[in-house]
Amino acid sequence: MNWQIHLPALLIAVPLLGAFAAPAFANRRLRDVWFTVMIAATTVIAFLLWRRVGAEGIVVYVMGGENWHLTLPSGMRLPIRIIMEVDAFSAFMALSGSIVSFAGAIFSLRFLDRTTGGEKFVALYFLLTAGMLGMETTGDLFNFFVFLEIASVASYGLIAFWRNTPEAIEASFKYMLLSTIAALMVLIGVGILYGRYGALNMAAIAKSMQLGLPEKVALALFVAALAMKCGAVPLHMWVPDAYSQAPAGISCFLVSVSQASLYGLFRISFSVYGRALDTPAVAWIIIVFGILSMFIAVVMAVIQKEVKRLMAYHAVSQTGYMLLGVGVGLLALAHPQAMSEYGFTAMQGGIFHIINHAMYKGLLFLTAGSIFYASGTLDLNRLGGLARNMPYTTVMFVVSAAAIAGLPPVNGFVSKLLVYESSFAVHPILTVMALVTSILTLASFVKVFQSAFLGPARARFSEVREVPRSMLVGMTVLLVAILWLSFMPTWSLSRLVGPAAQALVDQAGYIEAVMGSGL
């Protein structure tokens, strides 16, 4: 179909339209309809784009050009326009992110009835969606910075949404300080690469990449900044504050937004630098970030007493698995034999873990939001016996907790197994750390389950009822996604994860889609 050519542009344009029109909907019912319809449209577009990329390979879209596929107009040597380049990995991230944004939006509908200023919440939510999807589909480094800042500015506002609580303001300020510095570091890195190659397009830079000192400085800036933005230890201190203070629908979605920074990290190290990296140093740095994040964050999580803060530490810890998996893949990138033996499995594990984590951590945050909505507290010492009053929420919690702990047959088990198998080939200690982390994860979720849902009925919670239906619908979206990924692992690996890992490895294909094979 012809209009499907414009899918990459629509993926950004629809949430932007949603954002800028949202303040006009002061009426509650109209606002809810607008929110639902536009976010559903974004998800459908992301799905269609994913299907198209699966069928036709990399989709390139030139913004503002006379022709959408004319990447090198009139014999130019470098692309001069802003190009969106969507390969299987981008489409995979966009699909995963938009499903979570849909679930978070449906969940937030009734949440907003308790506050004023809901239409501003909707506007910022759409801006956050647009920023995240833009980061994941752009093929231009500066454009990546711009979308990074759009997503960041929207998330400062949303984290501080309950601005009558000092803690929320403090969390937002902390995040803003780190995030602004990270974004400026990205911008300096982009400037260095522009100074060397006179181009901003990732494919064009990758084509002429020669690793010298300036490139190394730029790479160090990118890795440090994006590791900070995706919340890897030792730069994770904003994560527990921001995730625990934001409204639940936002915490759920922020997980996916920080994965967009993870996407940037992988995109830059694989597609822009890729084979020009002749040292294993970068891969080891990513692996060490991964191991540290996994272990330190899970130890911090075990001792938490507040449900959302505990879950936020787990978000850091689970990011470690993705860094470990894809880091092992980067280590094997230069050696075809190692790649086929364990590298590709590791990348599949890491990338599968991205979508798994987006779904189950999103669902966990939503169940935490439900607990708070229904009972008014998230303190584990005060909660208890909620399984009687909230049967559906309990089921959702059990499934997603099993998934994060990596219990078979739920989806977390599959991706963790892939990471264990392949990291063992690099060094057994990596696998040991990953296993210990998994056990501690299970321990801390057993603690939450036991103290929040089980136990005798508490008198002060006798009035607690199950949350409204729209919240349950939002949670069900993620529950279905988890069950789908759990019971169709072969389909997920061959149709969803395999192509994404392949696209990340295939640097030549990424360059060729923009620069052409001639030249």
Binding site: P166, E167, F173, P240
Partner: protein
């Protein structure tokens, strides 16, 4: 010799800004530090595109000239400045709210979230 002078200024601005962010205890001064790092970044981009003796990169206004400064970094800087304004405004308003709740601008006393 003046060729590398702008880069030295960029480095200085960056270092002063980072030092303020890392070591100062006053929120307003931290915000000033962020603005200085921003200014260093913008100056860096502009200097990258500068060509000695170049004219403005607008065809209709430049007249008959051989070299122009590069237009792309200027476009980048313009965008970065706009983003910087948004961030600074938001940062200052958050500082205002923090002052209202905590009654101080000292980062050591604004610490309810920990552990």
């Amino acid at each position: 010799m003046t060729g590398n002078l702008p880069f030295v200024v960029v480095g200085l601005l960056f270092a002063i800004g980072m030092a303020l962010i890392l070591f100062d205890k006053n929120l307003i001064k931290i915000a000033i530090g962020v603005s200085m790092v921003e200014a260093a970044t913008n100056l860096f981009l502009i200097v990258l595109g500068y060509r000695t003796g170049g004219s403005i990169p607008v065809y209709t206004l430049a007249g008959e000239v051989k070299r122009m400064v590069l237009p792309t970094p200027q476009a980048l800087t313009l965008t970065a400045i706009v983003i910087g304004v948004a961030t600074t405004a938001l940062m200052l308003s958050l500082i205002m709210l923090l002052y209202r709740y905590y009654g101080t601008l000292d980062v050591r006393e604004i610490r309810r979230l920990r552990g």
